[in-house]
Amino acid sequence: MTAALRRATLVVALPAALLTAWWFASAGSTDFYRPPLSRILAAFGETWFGPRLVDDVLPSLARLGLGYAMALVIGVTLGVATGLSPRLRATLEPVLEFLRAVPPPVLVPILILVAGIGNTMKVLVIVSGCVWPVLLNTVEGVRNVDGVLADTCRSYRIRGQARLRHLVLRSASPQIVTGARQALSIGIILMVISEMFAASSGLGFTIVQFQRGFAIPEMWSGVLLLGLLGVALSVVFRVVEHRVLGWYHGIRAVQRQ
């Protein structure tokens, strides 16, 4: 119990110290662009726990969720196919390298032309950025399937779907998760960026609106909210990872002994 308490203290200590420092450093501030933290926090509640939660925060999260899920499905499917077939890999690799090198934000103007300024465009921007780490890590993971385990599957005639499910996807899962983690942080960035162009709702849109309307404490509170969302999503990610990769962390713990 005390160990858990000590860990909790460690987790909370630095954020608490930083907030306290910010609070006192900004307490007497009269600078219009750098309001006291007390005012930002007051604005936080008013700004986000009202209609904006439904009008801006949830749509943003829904687009992120959809885009991220699509990127995972496309990345893993394409990654497994590419990892299993050397010919497909040789064909796709140059194109993939090119596409991966294109920064997703520059796709926004193009995607506006193709998909309009609605949700489709924003989801596509998120997909176009998130898919690469998932895809490339899946390819690597699939290629590194252990030879003895592959022979075991062959000699026990574990083929087709069973092989895919029990051998290929599971052996690649540590790397798929690594890709998914990178994709999540890219997704959050792209969620905001996609809403800064030609949007009428969303977190990115609202924060830019506040800045243009000189609603400075509200603008700061939006940045705080984004940070908190990032933390919350990474906690959720860790819980899921713990379930999916329990065996993997178990092996690593055994090997460290």
């Binding site: 385990l149 075991t152 062959r154 000699s155 026990y156 005639r157 029990h166 599971r170 065996w247 092996i251």
Partner: protein, 257 residues
């Protein structure tokens, strides 16, 4: 019956031709326990992989139960030396044993008792819900043996299965495999570099020459069927047979050098 006729395997690659197996011909009768020994690097594993259908021979043929081997044959199981890499680390012990049966679409009601029996036969009923990496090396190899037992093969191949476990565990596993063989009536081909092990386990010992491998000599082990680590190994006949095998292997090594 298992029959190997004129088997030859040449590895060709990177400008180097290696004739691993020269010309191998031998037969193993139904229900026999045959050990294959040879100096290290004599292509024992290559031979075993050819029989298992994991490696196509350069020329010659292998027949398992009257059917020519072109891929992993039906009713044949392999126990690999690398127990740590031949078990699925993301599956529990019971699931590992069960997977080949699931892949063969055996109904749950039929496979459950087979799995339970196989685990009981190797003395691992208590470890059914553990992960392989939570077990010692010897126990992991028992899981691999249980998986082979549950599969109900007609032919069982073992590739130096006890090479990586300590001496005491090894003695236990040797007795285990003798009792499994006697109970199941399976045809067993056991590859090893350990002369004592070959004589202790087999009804017949096939001695291989150095690469390019041929059959140097065959020896019938005329020890009583009930074997025991103390009395069998103390038997003057055991010492005699062991001496014969040893002399033959030395000769094979000498001819190679």
């Amino acid at each position: 019956m298992l029959s190997v006729r004129g088997l030859r395997k040449v590895y060709d690659g990177h400008g180097r031709r290696v004739e691993a197996v020269g010309d191998l011909t031998f037969e193993v009768a139904d229900g026999a326990f045959v050990c294959v020994v040879g100096p290290s690097g004599c292509g024992k594993t290559t031979l075993l992989r050819c029989i298992a259908g994991l490696l196509p021979p350069t020329s010659g043929s292998v027949q398992v139960c009257g059917t020519p081997v072109t891929g992993p044959p039906d009713g044949l199981a392999v126990v690999f030396q690398e127990y740590g890499r031949s078990l699925f680390p993301w599956l529990r012990v019971q699931e590992n044993v069960e997977l080949p049966l699931r892949a063969a679409r055996m109904p749950r009601a039929r496979r459950r008792p087979l799995v339970a029996e196989a685990l009981a036969a190797v003395g691992l009923s208590d470890a059914a819900s553990a992960y392989p990496w939570q077990l010692s090396g010897g126990m992991q190899q028992r899981v691999a043996i249980a998986r082979a037992i549950a599969y109900q093969p007609r032919v069982l191949l073992m590739d130096e299965p006890f090479a990586a476990v300590d001496a005491q565990t090894r003695a236990d596993l040797e007795d285990l495999i003798r009792s499994v063989w006697q109970r199941l009536g399976v045809t067993l081909l056991f590859v090893t570099h350990d002369i004592d092990e070959a004589v202790y386990l087999g009804q017949r010992v096939i001695m291989l020459s150095a690469a390019p491998t041929r059959v140097a000599e065959e020896l019938a082990v005329d020890l009583p069927d009930a074997r025991d680590q103390l009395t069998t190994r103390g038997d003057p006949r055991f010492t005699e047979l062991r001496g014969q095998v040893y002399a033959q292997i030395q000769k094979a090594k000498g001819a190679a050098g």
